[in-house]
């Protein structure tokens, strides 16, 4: 009995695959529409994920400057730099002494003569503290800022990586937009499959009537349509995966160029095996839902008549 049950399902699956294969153009149109609808959120997700990974590279550029009070000696500044280096999560600490800072300013600003008129060096010693990449997130950065600001020798602490926070905020926004668009496109996929199955049901009305006439239940009649919907979703998912791979292959040179301007050699990796699994599973589920909705609505209305 169980063997027969699985045989029936296998038969329905093969019958559905046969129906799709016998109408290759119509099948291809539906699959391409579904593939493009699924490719859009996948592509966006791959880009956002890639950008997130890329920001780990940027985290090396995140640092903060602790300006020491003007009375602090260079020896004390060196001591403070050593203390800062010992703190967990700190990658590097560079001490820019007041003398170095003034020399640098003199060289770069062009105000050399004006600086000579000053009685002393007005610039403070500065500790440039760079966190480890894994501690370059906003929360850890704030902790570090508070730690440094609490030292009595520190006058002010300035975060030099606000742009990363803004960049992360933009990525977060994109992620939200991605979720919303994925939801809307999923509804679109369900609607496309539902409409295709509705037409299929109309085309196979005579077959459905005969099947019900000989005692076929709604569940039995519905089965091949559910498989058809799931197959549409499966093929749509596969198409989406291929579309994103091709699109990324075309985009990656431009992405590499953009990353280079940020000092990174990053390129975005294409969707992986897990993405494919998710697409195939998700596509099949959406197809199944679309076909179930159409079948539940339209099959119940078809009843055999004796002519």
């Amino acid at each position: 009995m169980i063997g027969s049950y699985f045989a029936r399902h296998a038969q329905a699956l093969l019958s559905s695959a046969g129906h799709l294969a016998r109408a290759p153009i119509a099948t291809a149109f539906t699959v391409v529409v579904m593939g493009l609808a699924l490719a859009l959120p996948l592509g966006l997700d791959v880009l956002v994920r890639g950008a997130r990974e890329a920001t780990h590279d940027f985290s090396g550029a995140v640092s903060m400057s602790a300006y020491l009070k003007t009375g602090v000696t260079e020896a004390r500044a060196n001591q403070l730099a050593r203390t800062a280096r010992e703190r967990a999560g700190v990658a590097t600490v560079e001490l820019i002494t007041a003398t170095q800072a003034l020399a640098q300013f003199r060289a770069q600003s062009g105000f050399g003569d004006a600086l000579d008129a000053l009685e002393g060096n007005p610039l403070p010693h500065v500790l440039v503290v760079t966190p480890r990449p894994e501690r370059a997130n906003p929360a850890s950065m704030e902790n570090l800022r508070q730690y440094l600001a609490a030292w009595p020798e520190v006058d002010a602490v300035q975060l030099d990586g606000d742009w990363v926070s803004r960049f992360n905020a933009i990525l977060g926004l994109l992620r939200q937009a991605l979720l919303i668009s994925a939801g809307l496109l999923a509804i679109g996929v369900v609607a496309v499959v539902g409409n295709t199955i509705r037409l299929e049901i109309q085309n196979r009305r005579a077959e459905i009537e005969v099947t019900k006439l000989v005692g076929g239940t709604n569940g039995f009649v519905r089965r091949p349509f559910l498989y058809t919907g799931a197959l549409y979703g499966l093929l749509g998912g596969l198409t989406a995966w291929l579309v994103v791979i091709v699109a990324l292959a075309l985009l990656n040179p431009a992405i590499a160029h953009l990353a280079h301007t940020y000092g990174s050699s990053y390129t975005i990796a294409g969707p992986g095996a897990r993405d494919l699994e998710f697409l195939l599973g998700g596509g099949a589920l959406l197809g199944w839902i679309g076909s179930w909705l159409a079948a539940a609505r339209h099959l119940a209305r078809i009843e055999p008549g004796a002519g």
């Binding site: 027969s4 005579a206 009537e209 005969v210 019900k212 006439l213 000989v214 005692g215 055999p304 004796a306």
Partner: protein
């Protein structure tokens, strides 16, 4: 086996197909429903096969009051009735084997059982060897026999046929009637609607004449 008690049927378009019909077909009996086109013969068959429900009165088939049968029990009820149509109602894109196997497939029979019974049914109607042939490649008479094979393959206790010989020449019509007689001889209750009075007279069986929705 089949009982109609004061049965009336009015279709949605307002046409009254049957008015106050009373009839009884005993288990294992074979009867003819005769009458002009539009007299109500097909409606009687539709009511037996639960393709329609009565507007008034009570139809009992195999002990079931069809008017009160719940929708979820209708498929199982229909599996107990073999139906033969004048226009065969075959699935044109499926070979003969698949057409005949359909009632067994919907009943979740095993593949072995399906194979055995389909071949036996095709044997009975003289179409053994045509399993892989599409209906369109068969003659009208052969298509009718495929329809009959499909109706008898699950060995239903009741067999109904609506003008089964309408498109057939006299010799093929006689062959088809012989098939029904054979089914009846093994205990199947058979109801045949026909306007071919010659066949009815030749059979010597009971006929119920329906005229304008009444039993004449």
């Amino acid at each position: 086996m089949i009982t109609f008690e004061a049965v009336a049927k009015r279709y949605r378009n307002g046409r009254e197909a049957l008015s106050n019909i009373n009839l009884h077909v005993a288990p294992g009996e074979m009867v003819f429903l005769t009458g002009r086109s539009g007299a109500g013969k097909s409606t009687v068959l539709k009511l037996i096969a639960l393709l329609e429900r009565p507007t008034r009165g009570r139809v009992t088939v195999g002990g079931e009051n069809t008017g009160k049968l719940k929708a979820r029990r209708v498929p199982a009820f229909r599996r107990r009735i073999g139906v033969v149509f004048q226009d065969h109602r075959l699935l044109v894109d499926r070979p003969v084997f698949d057409n005949v196997a359909l009632p067994l497939i919907v009943a979740d029979s095993s593949l072995k059982e399906i194979d055995k019974r389909v071949r036996a049914a095709l044997d009975q109607v003289g179409l053994r060897g045509s399993e892989r042939v599409l209906p369109a490649e068969l003659s009208v008479g052969e298509q009718q026999r495929v329809g009959i094979a499909r109706a008898i393959v699950s060995r239903p206790p009741i067999l109904i046929a609506d003008e089964p010989t309408g498109n057939l020449d006299p010799q093929l019509a006689s062959e088809v009637m012989t098939l029904f007689r054979r089914m009846n001889e093994v205990g199947v209750t058979v109801v045949v609607a026909t306007h071919d009075l010659h066949l009815v007279r030749e059979s010597g069986l009971r006929s119920i004449v329906i005229d304008n929705g009444h039993i004449a």
